[in-house]
């Protein structure tokens, strides 16, 4: 049998060009960062096992996984609501991977490794809400969509998982998006079009915010 070695790479590797996009001569109103090399596990409760899974998750992560559209930060992972009785575990460096989580939730949940199936995009900047208002039908007003708020929604008919992360040190809001890898490039171009008039500072990072 032939031997294969699989080199994982970002679904945005072709589309992402670092530097400034759109308006020049102004301070970029949008900071667009792709986060690479993360671990992402989808956890879905088995039928009738929601309460037991919640208990096991609390024991495992040291805090309850969100059961409403929210994202919570544990000491070494982000738990993001993705639907009723299901959540995503976002972490780095193999802290929460299939081989450790699957035994912990055995019989209670179905797990699916999404690490290379999604792209993670972080959006911030002075014009972030103005730009996202073109793409999302959600109310992102600071009083409504607070730090830790999450949503399963759509951008341009593409399903996304959205959540508001911790504010930057300058107090500005950060919005994180998970999108299916095969739709990432399309969403990326849509985002560039929506943000061009404000100027976009494009980067990529290996650090989870």
């Amino acid at each position: 049998m032939a031997e294969f070695s699989w080199a994982s790479r970002s679904p945005l590797e072709q589309a992402l060009v670092t530097g400034v996009h759109g308006a020049r001569g102004v301070e970029a109103g949008i900071l667009l960062t792709e986060i690479r090399n993360f671990d992402l596990i989808q956890v879905m409760a088995r039928r009738g096992k929601g309460a037991e899974l919640a208990k096991a998750a609390k024991a495992r992560f040291g805090m309850a996984a969100p059961d409403t559209p929210k994202a919570v930060q544990t000491k070494d992972a982000t738990l993001i609501w993705s639907g009723p009785d299901q959540f995503l575990v976002l972490s780095k460096d193999g802290k929460y991977a299939m081989n450790t989580l699957a035994p912990a939730f055995s019989g209670l949940a179905s797990l699916s490794d999404q690490s290379h199936a999604r792209a993670l995009i972080s959006i911030s900047g002075a014009k972030v809400r103005t730009m996202l208002a073109k793409l999302l039908s959600l109310d992102l007003h600071p009083a409504v969509f607070q730090v830790g708020a999450a949503a399963a929604t759509s951008i341009d008919h593409t399903s996304v998982t959205l959540w508001r992360g911790a504010d930057q040190t300058d107090g500005r809001a950060v919005f994180n998006l998970l999108v299916f890898a095969t739709f990432a490039e399309s969403l990326w171009h849509t985002t560039l079009d929506a943000g061009a008039e404000y100027g976009i500072d494009i980067r990529y990072s290996e650090e989870l915010a």
């Binding site: 039928r47 929601g50 009723p84 039908s137 008919h157």
Partner: protein, 91 residues
């Protein structure tokens, strides 16, 4: 038109897909051919309050059971359909 998903909150119509009448119940395995024909093919065309299945595919991917007035589009109830969310079934 907006639908208040019991899991996600108020969302625009574009996130949802319409399936149709939520009333028909699958007949028993030994049901008559007429009963099966009715279940598969025959639908009421209701002008007024109707029970419907909708799918929140652009959001939490849950099936919902919605009571809607087909004349006014007024939605009076929204609830998870059987099987939406593990905890809702057999819990």
């Amino acid at each position: 038109m907006r639908i208040v998903c019991p899991f996600c909150g108020e969302r625009e119509l574009g996130e949802f897909t319409y399936l149709g009448d939520a009333k028909p119940q699958r007949p028993a395995a030994d049901a008559s051919e007429d009963a099966v024909y009715d279940y598969v093919y025959l639908r009421d065309n209701i002008a007024g309050v109707m029970s419907e299945h909708w799918y929140h595919g652009g959001g939490c991917r849950s099936w919902l059971k919605i009571t809607r007035n087909t004349l006014t589009h007024e939605i009076s109830t929204v609830e998870p359909a059987a099987g939406a969310g593990a905890a809702k079934v057999g819990a």
